[in-house]
């Protein structure tokens, strides 16, 4: 008689705190009693969207390069930012404006980066965070490495890495979470499942029911959450961060959201998805839900909303003004940061670039 038995089984829990209208689905986490924190998180979501809207407009009018909008991702991005501690280290893809803003990155920084200027990666207030990562999935091993360094030094910190749904198809994603599992690294990975990798839907990336379950193969805990639910993002990611910081190892969290915008300003999403699908997704977008919840708790009113919109508008306009007034770097900037010290051969090329700088456009 041959032997047959089940040697492994798994479950992926799903968590949400609010329904699509922002009403509680049950008992809420204790920290939700902190009304000022909730207001701060909401303000950051609106701030990110105000910036995002302006950035798209700047690109449309030729004043900014290609720009990837974060429209619809605000709860995931801000919830993660609010869950992190200042001394944790952040590794993003290129869309996580809300998380960057929460950690003190200036609007000017983001404008400079997408406006073609490396000075937009200086991050004065979060000096250990990595800049945007364009090659898909390649930020994951960096986060694992930072987590390994934290572990080697026995520090109470963690690394947090974002990745997109398309990014989970990259080998680097699996290599990094696999390593995190082997070493029990202080790493939290948030998969932002916004359903579309440019024109490719999740169903064309994987036959797996969830992206979270990819973590099971790496031997690490995983869950799926409503990524448009600010409360559950902050709560689930916060739990994972506390566990990582306490030596409890890595977690993978799949946040379900929706990219309401084109992939970038160079994309036209009407080529590959229906207006009905986008309209359905828009009904679940995070900002109105969060505002409904705050209003239901008497933490927000129309006067707050008007004041916030005016403040955001003023701040964005000031950042844009500063961005447009920032002169481009000198040609020396191409050479000066390649190595700690300029090599003789590069010095000659730097001089050549200087000589022709005036004739450039």
């Amino acid at each position: 008689m041959s032997e047959q038995r089940i040697v492994a089984q798994f479950e992926i829990p799903y968590r949400a705190c609010l329904d699509g209208d922002g009403a509680p689905l049950g008992a809420l986490p204790a920290w939700v009693e902190d009304g000022e924190l909730l207001r701060r998180m909401y303000r950051m979501m609106v701030r990110a969207r105000a910036f995002d809207t302006k950035a798209v407009n700047l690109q449309r009018t030729g004043k900014l390069g290609t720009y990837p909008s974060c429209l619809g991702h605000e709860a995931t991005h801000v919830g993660v930012g609010a869950a992190m501690r200042a001394d944790d280290v952040l590794f993003t893809v290129y869309r996580e404006i809300g998380t960057k803003f929460w950690r003190g990155v200036d609007m000017l920084d983001v404008l400079l980066y997408w406006g073609g200027d490396e000075r937009g990666t200086m991050y004065r207030h979060s000096p250990q965070d990595f800049p945007f990562c364009v090659p898909i999935g390649s930020q994951m091993p960096h986060a694992a490495g930072a987590a390994l360094a934290i572990q080697i030094r026995a520090e109470r910190r963690c690394a947090l890495a974002f990745i997109g749904d398309g990014g989970t198809s990259q080998g680097a994603f699996y290599e990094a979470i696999n390593f995190a599992g082997v070493k029990s690294l202080p790493l939290v990975c948030v998969i932002v499942n916004n359903r579309w990798a440019i024109s490719v839907p999740v169903a064309a990336q994987t036959a797996a029911t969830t992206l979270a379950q990819k973590a099971i193969a790496a031997g690490i805990p995983a869950l799926q959450i409503d990524g448009n639910d600010l409360l559950v993002v902050r709560d689930a990611v916060g739990d994972a961060i506390e566990r990582a910081r306490g030596g409890g190892g890595p977690t993978v969290i799949e946040a379900l959201t929706y990219r309401l915008s084109d992939h970038t300003t160079s994309d036209d999403a009407t080529r590959y998805r229906s207006a009905e699908e986008v309209a359905d997704a828009r009904r679940l977008e995070p900002i109105a839900r969060t505002r409904n919840f705050l209003q239901s708790r008497a933490l927000w009113d129309e006067a707050d909303e008007q004041a916030l919109k005016a403040a955001c508008s003023e701040e964005v306009d000031a950042a844009v003004k500063q961005y447009l007034a920032t002169p481009k770097q000198s040609t020396d900037a191409m050479f000066d940061y390649l190595y700690a010290q300029l090599t003789p051969a590069l010095r000659a090329q730097r001089d050549e670039a200087r000589r022709f700088a005036a004739s450039g456009h």
Partner: protein
């Protein structure tokens, strides 16, 4: 002072730096318990502990990428790639991130990483174990590429590589790992990256070479000395950035240049050296520059590897042809 092989000198340099700099950590496949497939890291885990000598899963991209994250957190990772033929999965991390992190953050973050890898063929290894891919790395701004050719130079250059504030690709010629023993002083003295080594002085022709080809080039020079031909042999030592001052001084003196490398000829580093010497010393040349290089073929399996790798005969032939111009 002890006589030792190159692989022992490499091990000794690791140990010196780990003992003197607590931020130095070693990672890679089999570097811990096993001490590395060539035994370059043998004993380090026992001496410095598992936290500082970490075996990784079998994924070269992960090793390179992890080293970036560690370096940005202030550690100095020395990572081993088992053979240079396996560098391809790591190239994304090396080219897209390791080489660029300082530049793309305007100096805020940096990558003091050493990526060590065996280089070249000649030891009857299996397929994909004998490649010479230095040109791939030298083409990427932001990297340094170093290739020692003796135990003492391996010791001094590895110390320099670990202390360098930027990423260094450290290419270790497999043929030389146990080729000869040499006295190496364990004094923590680093050699300078970016400086070539004049291994033999001469007046008729300059040979620029590196890695295992220095041995064959010296033999060729010795053979021709009996016929009254005086060859200067320069071990480039550092392949990026190249020490053109030493090369040009020598070419101005001898008037003839032969470049010898094991890597394929087309777009090999020899082409860059020849182009630069043409730009800066053409009128000092008495004869066209020649290259002796690997053929533009796939590195063959080992029965033919010594027909592929340039040997003394091809070098002597090229020297004679250059002198006959």
């Amino acid at each position: 002072m002890a006589k030792m092989t190159m692989v022992e000198a490499i091990n000794m340099a690791h140990a010196w730096e780990m003992a003197h700099d607590p931020s130095v950590v070693v990672l890679g496949e089999d570097v811990g318990t096993n001490g590395g497939v060539f035994r370059a890291t043998v004993g380090l885990q026992q001496r410095f502990g598992k936290a500082r000598v970490q075996d990784t899963p079998l994924a070269e991209g992960l090793i390179a990428g992890t080293a970036i994250g560690m370096a940005a957190q202030g550690l100095k990772p020395v990572a081993e790639i088992q053979f240079m033929g396996f560098i391809y999965p790591a190239l994304d991390q090396i080219a897209s991130h390791m080489a660029r992190l300082r530049n793309r953050t305007r100096g805020r973050l940096s990558c003091p990483v050493v990526l060590r890898m065996p280089h070249g063929g000649g030891i009857h290894a299996p397929e994909h174990h004998s490649e010479s891919l230095e040109a791939l790395l030298c083409h990427h701004p932001g990297l340094r590429v170093v290739c020692p050719s003796s135990p003492a130079r391996a010791y001094g250059l590895l110390l320099a590589a670990i202390r360098d504030p930027d990423p260094v690709m450290f290419l270790e010629p497999v043929r030389l790992y146990r080729f000869a023993r040499q006295e190496v002083q364990d004094d923590g003295q680093a050699l300078a990256i970016g400086c070539s080594f004049v291994l033999r002085e001469g007046s008729d022709l300059t040979i620029v070479t590196w890695g295992a080809m220095t041995v064959d080039s010296l033999k060729a020079a010795e053979q021709l000395a009996a016929d009254g031909v005086s060859c200067e042999v320069i071990d480039a030592g550092t392949l990026a950035p190249l020490d053109f001052d030493t090369i040009l001084d020598s070419v101005v003196k001898t008037g003839r240049l032969l470049i010898v490398h094991e890597a394929p000829r087309t777009c090999g580093l020899g082409a860059e050296i020849a182009a630069t010497v043409n730009e800066r010393a053409l009128y000092d040349l008495l004869a066209p520059i020649r290259r002796v290089a690997g053929y533009d073929t796939v590195m063959p399996l080992y029965r033919l590897e010594h027909d592929y790798i340039p040997g003394v005969a091809r070098i002597v032939d090229a020297i004679r042809a250059t002198l006959a111009e």
